[in-house]
């Protein structure tokens, strides 16, 4: 349950000795909220950069004085002329 919630370092540390009934016992639990790892931080930076690029891309090809189709055809022509294989 703790793990599913996102906690780490979960430990049943000790019994408390205070039992409320014959079928229950007092216990002490400790769990920690993880610090975001370096990998996750890098993923976040990449995600932010990608979203900025996507914003730029979407704006470039948005309908405007030239419609989207024309813009894409211009881009295609330019990339062919430049020998871009992407």
């Amino acid at each position: 349950m703790f793990k599913q919630a996102g906690f780490v370092d979960i430990e049943l540390v000790a019994d408390t000795g205070f039992n409320s009934s014959p079928v229950t016992k007092g216990a002490l639990f400790r769990a920690t909220k993880p610090v975001i790892s370096i990998v996750k931080e890098k993923e976040k930076v990449m995600e932010d950069s990608l979203s900025k690029y996507k914003e730029f891309f979407d704006q470039t090809y948005a309908e405007g004085t030239l419609d989207r189709k024309t813009k894409h055809l211009i881009a295609l022509g330019a990339s062919l002329a430049a020998g871009c294989e992407a």
């Binding site: 349950m1 408390t16 205070f18 409320s20 079928v23 229950t24 007092g26 002490l28």
Partner: protein, 202 residues
């Protein structure tokens, strides 16, 4: 494993919790199968000096099932949340540990217990303690606002534990700790939902 409860079942559980704890608010004596009050605090090895600083009336209202303060040190300046604070004894202990630069917040769903907590607060000189009527499933605090979350004898009563844990995680700062003292079932879990609700208090 998680019990799926209908809203009316949750309401029934909440009502029976309220019924029991309204009486506990006046005095926990006789309502539990383990020592309460000063005897409870002594048996659970609470810091004697910190307990001594509390009035007899406050000490008498204690009905925890363990000592969550043995799990991790709480430092000066920290923010601590006590889920199901009841009459507030653990909240006061936390308040004495975090000092005036820190804060201790106690929450509970039982108005009578919170009334007792506020009465108790008037018998202290703490300026860093607040109490709020709110449930563990919907904490009115921003993300990452507490260094530590403690809870004593409460989670076993909460119908939606998954949600309560998710909320506790949300309000904790990264590397913050959740420290719980609670009752766990060592016997057989009843398959029948109705039977489980009937025996919610054990």
């Amino acid at each position: 494993m998680e019990l799926k409860l209908a809203p009316e079942d949750e309401k029934r559980i909440e009502q029976s919790i309220r019924q029991k704890y309204t009486k506990v608010a006046s005095s926990p004596e006789g309502h539990f199968n383990y020592p309460t009050g000063r005897a409870g605090l002594e048996a659970l090895a609470y810091d004697a000096e910190r307990v001594e600083a509390l009035t007899d009336n406050i000490v008498a209202s204690y009905c925890g099932v363990g000592n969550p303060f043995t799990l991790m040190p709480i430092r000066g300046g920290e923010a601590v949340l006590d889920i199901g604070c009841g009459a507030g004894v653990d909240t006061f202990i936390a308040a004495s540990m975090v000092g005036p630069e820190g804060k201790a917040v106690g929450i509970d769903i039982i108005p009578e217990m919170l009334e007792r907590a506020i009465q108790n607060l008037h018998e202290t000189t703490f300026k860093n303690v607040t109490f709020q009527l709110t449930s563990a499933g919907n904490l009115p605090f921003p993300d990452e606002s507490f260094d530590m979350v403690i809870s004593n004898g409460v989670f076993n009563l909460i119908p939606d534990k998954t949600r309560a844990l998710a909320e506790a995680l949300r309000v904790l700062k990264p590397s913050g700790c959740l420290m719980i003292a609670d009752q766990i079932l060592t016997g057989q879990l009843q398959a029948d939902t109705k039977a489980r609700i009937e025996s919610w208090f054990r």
